[in-house]
Amino acid sequence: MAIEVRIPTILRTYTDGAKQVEGSGSTLGELFTDLEQRHGGLRERLVDNGGGLRRFVNVYLNDEDVRFLSGLDTPVKDGDTVTVLPAVAGGAL
């Protein structure tokens, strides 16, 4: 068993086009570090320089937005599904 991670179109350049990859770790942050070993460049698109989640990206653990949980410190376990979606936003200014 592993943690399943769903990758949006714009980030599939880091996963050789795969919609879904697998990883391991005990927190979301560890999972992203694990993914980085096989999908170089991906972590930087999810985590900012301050070590927090990037503003323009939504990450969900199963059915929850991790911003409402503990962000990158959110515990994860085998069998979980993590979904990454680009935030959709903009405006006149």
Partner: protein, 130 residues
């Protein structure tokens, strides 16, 4: 025509706040068929943002239906229907058509479409199919 009318009606309904939504279509066909009006979580006259939980639900539904977001639309309510710097910096669906509607004039609605890829905006003609 139905798709265009639904987008314009949504933009008019939410004016003077910005309205936003998605038009889903069968994957790989580049044909927008199903208009999904989204909440503007920012409820602002100058900014829009999908609600993250609504977005998850809608994106999953598209996945289940073998659809993709063909169009991502929003309105500008006091300025022209052209992508702003904010629009460009947020654009993250390189295969989507970004539709902008301007409701600044009461009697006419500007309706324009763009590709936004790596920060580059390319306007494209809008052709309406039945």
């Amino acid at each position: 025509m139905v798709v265009v009318d639904a987008i314009v009606a949504h933009a008019r309904r939410d004016h003077p706040d910005e309205a936003c939504g998605v038009v889903a279509g069968p994957a790989g066909r580049d044909l927008p068929t199903r208009v999904i009006a989204m909440d503007n979580a920012a409820r602002s006259m100058t900014f829009y943002e999908f609600d993250s939980m609504e977005q998850l639900r809608v994106w999953r539904e598209m996945d289940d239906n073998d659809e993709e977001p063909v169009v991502i639309y929003h309105s500008h309510t006091a300025t022209e229907a052209y992508p702003s710097r904010t629009d460009i910096s947020y654009a993250s669906e390189p295969q989507a058509h970004y539709v902008l509607v301007s409701t600044r004039e009461e009697d006419t609605t500007e309706f324009r479409s763009y590709r936004i890829t790596d920060g580059v905006v390319t306007e494209e003609p809008v052709s309406v199919v039945e």
